[in-house]
């Protein structure tokens, strides 16, 4: 073989080796792409889940908004009556409290203590009613 032929053969071998390497690279890329494609369903599921969450949020928000508007209308309708009842409970609380404070609270006499307990029961009941009314008003 002359010099030119030797160079040509070397070039050919080099080209073959480059092709081999390219083929290997493509194989690696293909295998990576293949496993990526296998995982693709999972990724798609994630995004689908996000979309579902978004839709659910929008529906819930709409529902909440409607409920709130209806609650606010109800609130405006009942607020005056509720406040009047609150005042009535407060009047009871004041009345019974004043009565209790006229008694000897330091006593150790069992009959007197029993009497004071009855008054305290009444105060407690008025307080409970007051709290419940307040709760009812703002729990709408």
């Amino acid at each position: 073989m002359n010099q030119e032929e030797i160079i040509a053969v070397q070039q050919y071998e080099n080209a073959l080796s480059r092709v081999d390497q390219s083929v290997d690279k493509i194989t690696v890329l293909m295998s990576s792409a293949q496993s990526l494609a296998q995982q693709g369903t999972q990724i798609m599921n994630c995004f689908a889940q996000l979309k579902r969450e978004q839709q659910a949020y929008e529906a819930q928000f709409k529902e909440l908004k409607l409920k709130l508007q209806s609650d606010l209308i109800k609130f405006q309708n009942i607020v005056k009556g509720a406040e009047a009842r609150l005042d009535r409970h407060l009047d009871y609380i004041d009345k019974w409290t004043n009565l209790l404070l006229t008694r000897d609270l330091g006593t150790m006499d069992s009959q007197e203590l029993q009497y004071q307990r009855n008054i305290m029961d009444a105060i407690q009941m008025a307080n409970d009613n007051f709290n419940k009314e307040l709760d009812k008003l703002y729990s709408l």
Binding site: Y57, D87, M108, R117, I123, F130, L134
Partner: protein, 520 residues
């Protein structure tokens, strides 16, 4: 007793009250639930992107793992590039996920703010009016409470009329519970009004903290019962042995929440149990509030603390004995080793010379070992005191919980940022996935685990250490101990004495060496 039960039935319990006000007044029911809902959703978003990240990371790891199987350098380089590429894609997905979830959170917080504004606009006038009413009910309940608190009682009289005292106690408890509710209403209303005003100004939160029962109990003790007096001192004086008890102290001693809160703020929360055990507190006084669950809890904690102290003391004693016996034993063995070394290896016949060298070596070995053991002993002592501290922190926290402590609701602005720059900062940090560090520890830290120094394990460990030392004892070891002893002495002794000691030791060694060589 039957009537007491009836009263309790008709009354709302503190739990009812707390749930009622928290759910309906403070946390705004559906809106609040909805807020929590989208925070959960933000987690879902994070998780979804997390899955994507994991997939890419898994791929990059797979490619990297396959690199070892291939010998071709160029292919390996290509694989490394692919691995890096997929890894970067994974990380980007993670960053984008965090950013997306942040933006969603902000969006939804703004959606909800619109609803809150509507509610605030409708409610605010009524809230102002009802705040006056709530104040009126608080003033009314306060009158009864302060009146009862201002009275004084003879302890003997209370103890001798137990039945009457029980009725009285029940009456006082009713007054206290009513006041607690009224006070909580006031705090909640103030908070709620502040929140509504903030919403109307387009802010997510007000500057006020959500009230908790601990605030109420604190204000009852400080502002109502003791009205600015140093209540700790007043109660401490009472325990010194007076026969008189004021209504305010009686309120604190008989109520579980108040007593727990009082104990949680004390330097030593077990002060009452300790006082009774050491007879600083009269048992007669104890009879007044012996049924209080907080006292029972205190006694239980006290018993455990005693056990911890006893265990610590036992460990200390055993360890100390082992230090002494271990050091002596090791010294004897090294003494014997050296003796054999001088006799058999060095073939020295002069007993006086050998014994002098041995005496110094043994002394140094003993000193070295002693120094090393003392170091371990110090560590043991630190461990024991740390153990006690941890336990103290634990029961302080438990008392605080019983005294109404609870984690306050996280403010919306803490999640989405307050100012524009704050938000931009949060958005950027979410993009790079830099999480906020939440410091919930506050000043109460929950103890995760209690750790004991069990005397048995301590003994076994020391025996093992000794066994290792004794079996490996040789001249090199003795030499190391000498160095150790000198290092130790240098740390502990004044410079002047250390140099004098070093000079004497060197002199002795030179003298012995010369003596052994027959120069002297």
């Amino acid at each position: 007793m039957g009537k007491n039960k009836q009263v309790q039935k008709s009354s709302l319990t503190d739990e009812d009250l707390y749930t009622m006000l928290s759910d309906n007044l403070v946390e705004l029911n559906e809106i609040e639930l909805f807020f929590n809902g989208f925070l959960q959703e933000a987690n879902v978003i994070d998780e979804s992107f997390g899955t994507v990240t994991n997939i890419f990371n898994g791929l990059s790891m797979g490619v990297l793992a396959s690199m070892n199987k291939s010998d071709n350098e160029k292919i390996n380089r290509a694989k490394a590039k692919i691995a890096l590429g997929t890894f970067v894609v994974g990380q980007v997905a993670k960053g984008v996920g965090s950013f997306y979830s942040y933006v969603k959170t902000l969006d939804r917080a703004n959606d909800i703010l619109v609803l809150k504004k509507e509610k605030a606009a409708t409610w605010l006038d009524s809230l102002h009016r009802n705040y006056d009413r709530v104040l009126r009910s608080e003033i009314s309940s306060r009158k009864i409470l302060t009146h009862l608190a201002s009275l004084g009682y003879q302890i003997d009289e209370l103890i001798s009329n137990r039945e009457v005292y029980d009725v009285k106690k029940n009456l006082m408890q009713m007054a206290l519970e009513q006041y607690r509710k009224a006070r909580f209403n006031v705090f909640s209303m103030e908070f709620f009004i502040a929140e509504c005003k903030a919403w109307l100004k387009n802010k997510h939160d007000s500057n006020m903290q959500q009230p908790i029962l601990q605030d109420v109990n604190n204000s009852i003790i400080q502002e109502v019962l003791f009205q600015g007096d140093d209540y700790e001192e007043v109660i401490a004086e009472f325990f010194l042995g007076s026969n008189e008890i004021s209504g305010s102290i009686l309120f604190v001693l008989n109520d579980e929440q108040l007593l727990s809160h009082y104990l949680s703020t004390r330097k030593d929360p077990l002060i009452i149990s300790d006082g009774v055990e050491n007879k600083h507190i009269n048992k007669r006084v104890l009879a007044i509030f012996k049924d209080n669950p907080a006292l029972e809890m205190s006694n239980e904690f006290y018993e455990i603390r005693k056990e911890i102290d006893e265990d610590g003391e036992k460990s200390r004693k055993i360890f100390w004995r082992l230090i002494v016996t271990g050091s002596l034993l090791s010294t004897l063995v090294s003494f014997f080793n050296l003796y054999l070394f001088c006799r058999l290896v060095m073939a020295i016949d002069d007993n006086t010379a050998i014994l002098s060298v041995l005496a110094i070596a043994a002394l140094l070995a003993f000193g070295g070992l002693y120094a090393k053991f003392e170091e371990i002993y110090k560590e043991l002592k630190n461990k024991i005191s740390k153990n006690r501290e941890n336990y103290e922190r634990y029961y302080r926290y438990e008392f605080a919980l019983k005294g109404g402590f609870a984690n306050r609701r996280k403010k919306v602005e803490e999640v989405v940022g307050k100012s524009f720059f704050d938000r931009v900062g949060k958005a950027i940090s979410s993009l790079f996935d830099v999480g906020d560090s939440d410091d919930h520890s506050f000043y109460y830290e929950k103890l995760i685990e209690r750790e004991y120094w069990n005397p048995f394990f301590v003994t076994v460990s020391i025996m093992l250490i000794l066994a290792i030392i004794l079996t490996k004892l040789n001249l090199f070891f003795v030499g190391s101990l000498v160095v150790l002893l000198f290092a130790y002495l240098k740390m502990r002794m004044r410079k002047k004495y250390f140099y004098i000691l070093t000079f004497i030791v060197v002199l002795c060694v030179v003298f012995l060496f010369l003596y052994m060589k027959g120069v002297i």
